[in-house]
Amino acid sequence: MLIALLADVHANREALEACLEDAEARGASRFVFLGDLVNYGADPEWVTGEVMRRVAAGAIAVRGNHDAAVGERRATMDSPAELAMEWTRVQLGADEREFLARLPLTVEDGERLFVHAAAGIPEKWEYVFESADAMRSLAATAKRLTFCGHVHVPALYSMSVVAKITAFRPTAGAPVPLLSQRRWLAVLGSVGQPRDGDPAASYATFDTESLELTYRRVPYDVATAAAKIRAAGLPEMLAERLATGR
């Protein structure tokens, strides 16, 4: 079975459509959304609706910090994230808000754990930036494979039988076998707001037979996604960063 792993879509319809099309063309039969479906982008309603349809058909989705923030009543701040969140709340219908609020923090599936941030205390939304973070996260779960997002920069950590950690910056399109005698933590790149310098949408496929994880990059219509952000009156930097992938 080929699983498509999609993290940090951030209401970017163009990027999500491109990744779904790419994954389907490769024969993906299961879709896993690793949190942060909304905020920053101009299509929160469409993206949430699409994921709702797919979850109804068997897809997996976990809650991200931005998904959680939709239902939180906070004093409004001036940051672009908060401004965009204010706008996002208005766009979403009751069904979508309900769906986001009810998303689980983690899903376990065979030897796999799906979670948005580090596995320790998922609702603390801790980042996995480096080996020490990965070590803590791996220690918090008995599952052999952890797939998460949140960082917006792809990375792959592996832990040997004697608990040594290896950090690796994956190459798009090059399959890495997640050797069965090791434990692995895969940080997915972001579908809708990449921050590693490459504006192409980032996701991954995992083949449960060969145990091969392949990080993928999909060029998409950045100009349209950015134009919609501007048209919605969202902060300019949210549009600009899509073109640079920063």
Binding site: S158, V161, K164, T166, V176, Q181
Partner: protein, 466 residues
């Protein structure tokens, strides 16, 4: 973790009938196996994971598990199957038939031309794996076989580095792993990402095979291992008076401490080893003694010594493609002056864009099959030399450094076949040639460039004058 007792002679594991132990090394045990569906000889490699064994054995085995299935071609053992670590860890692969270099140690030293021929094959095999993103990092006689068909096969990827896979060796061990006599200086310093490390190890092998002596001995302990960072080896010509200067040039270049002073790619090393006459000789070829102690001490305490610790910023495959071999086919007899100039301008632009490229200028001296015996005597020879001079004269305006350009007159009744054959034999990355402009001639003779484009194993650029 324990090597399963299930894998013993006579047992059947996942369809493989387990046979005798062929080899027992520090890191692994190798058994012969058979499978009803596989006709060729195959073997099973098992990690050596008993109490007290080297922990690197497990990691090395994991690396080989990841790398071997991703390699292809005649220069690696064909991958057959993997056993899972959770059940029985093993790798089944082709049992390479042919000549193993290890037993040849009994016959050393070998004649220079024989060593060069072996070296060229190993260099070609290295280029192939480098192109596939892998640095071997353990090139030594016991890891090389020569197939009957000619290709060298590199075995054992337990210490190898793959550009696109996590480097488990790099992260897990502070001490660099390798085979002491063959390890490159940068590998000793912990850099595992430079393809030119394999050229150093091959240089050690060439030196050893041609002199019977290891250039840096078999050092024990870190301090002795580090000696090669500043102490140059005894020049082979001091050990053997009849040692060919060109071979000393090539071998000592491989053994340069700074990777930037070695050949930029294994293909370029293979090129030198197959074209002795074209090797550009420097003072390396003349050396008859080691550097004086003053120079050695200067190197020993030179603050730059640590710069080699830095890994190259480009990937292995990028390092390889940054220094291509370009063959320029120059048709001096039928090309117009304008075409010859355009061709030269094209090469000039490539020179600027790809500073690591090496150019081989070819001209095909055409002879007619029927008249073969009558033209290839004294007259044929003078024609050959005349063409060579014309080629050099054509290239002169490029003002190319001598080590970057070589000239070759090929003799053949079929120019396209000769160019293609040259490209295949020398692992050429790019052919540049002119198009025949005279349409009448083209009609009668066909287009050489079209034939080359159709049959080339590499990129071809066809240049036209406008």
């Amino acid at each position: 973790m324990n090597t399963s007792a299930r894998i013993a002679e006579g047992a059947t594991v996942d369809g493989f009938l387990v046979g005798k132990v062929i080899h027992r090394g520090g890191m692994s045990v190798i058994r012969e196996v058979t499978h009803p569906d596989i006709a060729e000889p195959i073997l099973m490699k098992l990690p050596s994971v008993r109490e007290g064994d080297d922990p690197a054995a497990i990691v090395g085995f994991e690396m080989e598990q990841m790398i071997l299935p991703r390699l292809s071609g005649p220069h690696v053992p064909r991958f057959v199957a993997l056993g899972d670590f959770s059940a029985d860890p093993y790798i089944v692969m082709e049992r390479v038939q042919g000549r193993w270099l290890l037993p040849m140690l009994e016959e050393l030293p070998l004649p220079g031309d024989e060593v060069a021929a072996i070296g060229a094959r190993v260099a070609t095999a290295l280029h192939e794996i480098h192109r596939q993103h892998v640095v071997h990092l353990d090139v030594k006689p016991s890891n090389v076989f020569l197939r009957q068909s000619g290709e060298a096969v590199l075995i054992d990827y337990g210490l190898a580095h793959h550009d696109q896979l996590p480097d488990l060796m790099d992260e897990e061990f502070r001490v660099p792993y390798g085979t002491a006599p063959y390890m490159s200086p940068e590998q000793i310093l912990g850099n595992r990402r430079d393809a030119r490390s394999d050229l150093f190890s091959l240089g050690v092998l060439l030196y050893f095979f041609s002199t019977g002596v290891r250039p840096f001995g078999d050092p024990k302990g870190k301090r002795r291992l580090h000696r090669r960072l500043w102490r140059d080896p005894v020049p082979p010509r001091k050990l053997r008076a009849d040692y060919p200067p060109w071979l000393q040039e090539v071998v000592l270049r491989c053994l340069e401490v700074d990777p930037a002073r070695r050949h930029p790619t294994a293909a370029q090393l293979a090129f030198d080893l197959t074209n002795p006459d074209e090797v550009k000789r420097t003072t390396r070829s003349e050396r008859l003694r080691q550097d004086p102690w003053s120079a050695v001490l200067r190197r020993r305490f030179h603050p730059d010594a640590d710069s080699r610790r830095r890994a190259p910023e480009t990937s292995v495959a990028e390092q390889t493609s940054a220094a291509p071999i370009v063959a320029v086919a120059v048709d001096l007899s039928e090309s117009s002056e304008a075409l010859l100039i355009t061709l030269r301008d094209t090469v000039g632009r490539m020179l600027e864009v790809v500073p690591g490229a090496r150019f081989a200028c070819l001209n095909v001296l055409k002879y007619h099959r029927l008249a073969l015996d009558f033209t290839l005597d004294a007259e044929g020879k003078s024609k050959h030399l005349k063409r060579l001079a014309e080629l050099r004269s054509w290239a002169r305006p490029l003002e190319m450094a001598e080590h970057r350009i070589t000239f070759h007159v090929l003799e053949s009744p079929d120019p396209a076949a000769a160019i293609l054959d040259y490209a295949r034999t020398n692992d050429v990355d790019h052919i540049v040639m002119g198009a025949r402009t005279d349409s009448a001639l083209k009609k009668i003779l066909g287009s050489v460039s079209a034939e080359v484009v159709a049959g080339a194993p590499c990129t071809v650029t066809v240049v036209r004058a406008r």
